[in-house]
Symmetry: C2
Subunit: 218 residues, 2 copies
DNA sequence: GCAACCTATGAATCATGATTCACTTCTTGC
DNA sequence: GCAAGAAGTGAATCATGATTCATAGGTTGC
């Protein structure tokens, strides 16, 4: 048997695969999904177009992984906040909304791609999965808050979906490619504060303290 | 001058154009934008593929018109409600949210196409225009409600965008092609009521009456 | 009926970009 | 160094679906 892949080769292969994923991610982060053709990604990664297909069965598959990883990172942040038992539910909701918005505004092209840019159906499926993840994360803390009396009676699933939608929609304007350079820090601060307030108002009972803190989760 | 288009010919031409628009609309309403190829629309309208191009410079242009008309009808309903001076602001918001949700649920495939399905950039632009329209309609009534003290102090633009997003996101699940046949009337009623309540809570001051009426705007 | 000149047709063409594949270039174990 | 086989290459191929265009069929005014 004159050839058998050695661990060293395996490692090099893995590194190339990783470089392709990173290149795809960077391409999306810099210029959006629309700009991310297979050959653009390949040449950015320093490999030939065809080589991409030695590591991924299809473009859709590659980008599903790219989106999955990027979305997971975002979801992890939000989920960590919503399940932080050291805080009362209302503060968790506020901090999670704030983290979501702040991080999106800090990486607008990527956020737009993850949230709203037209993508392959397979990638869209990935997106839907994470939307549900956000919904679930919010739904859990809403449930707790209702049980503790801190939040009004309501269907946590519906309210959670509404919160996710409210955050997404209010951010898509500022994030969209059309809104380039217009976003002064000033606007962003008001936007974040307004969104946090909106979410809290929608769910908290009256006496809820109106947290608009500046805890950073970026 | 042996030929000059007569009014009769003009009328026939206009009728064909209209039939093409209607066919395109019906195709989207029945099977979504993805199914609406130029030839599908043409054959549904009973004309040849090429004939479509005698009335529209491009597919994007045709569908921009289709989306514009359909969206305008929806927006008109919502705007009529939000500007109905015979009602207090909170009831206008509630009725508008309810109308939006109910109408979307009544025509799910079309609603999904108008709200969330991937479309041509030119059509997407049309969609954004109408999103802004909804936002403006809500923003106006929010502004009034704030002035009258019925609503909390807040930035009407941000809250309006959040309301539009909340409605859209919470509806997209039930509307999406994946959610076929699952939607019992029962669920829909709870969803509509939940959404109306969410929107009202988000903006009204505490003493606001919690309207969950069944006024039909379908 | 006829010249002039629209309108309709739908198969062929184009454009885009993903995917393939015949070939070249490494790696490995001996 | 060499044979066996893996990995890399990138130009050619494919797929999809919008768009064009040479041709056929209608209208109009006289």
């Amino acid at each position: 048997m004159p050839y058998r892949t050695t661990p060293a080769t395996r490692a090099r292969l893995d590194a190339v695969r990783e470089r392709i994923v990173a290149s795809a991610r960077d391409q999306v982060a810099e210029a959006g999904y629309a700009s991310a053709s297979v050959s653009a990604v390949a040449s950015r990664a320093g490999v030939a177009t065809g080589s991409v297909y030695r590591h991924f069965p299809s473009k859709a598959n590659l980008f599903a992984e790219v989106f999955r990883r990027a979305s997971q990172r975002e979801l992890d942040v939000v989920a960590a906040v919503t399940s932080d038992e050291s805080l009362p539910p209302s503060e968790r909701v506020a901090a999670a909304a704030e983290a979501f918005a702040r991080r999106a505004l800090a990486a607008p092209t990527m956020a737009y791609a993850l949230l709203a840019e037209p993508v392959d159906p397979a990638v869209e499926a990935e997106r839907l999965t994470f939307r549900r993840g956000y919904r679930d994360a919010f739904a859990r803390v809403l449930h707790e808050g209702i049980a503790s009396g801190e939040f009004r009676e309501h269907d946590p699933e519906i309210a959670a979906a509404a919160i996710v939608g409210a955050l997404g929609e209010a951010l898509v304007g500022p994030l969209s490619p059309a809104a380039n350079g217009r976003g002064a820090r000033r606007h962003h601060e008001a936007l974040v504060a307004g969104l946090v307030q909106f979410c809290l108002n929608a769910i908290a009972t009256r006496e809820g303290k109106s947290h608009v803190g500046a805890r950073s989760h970026a």
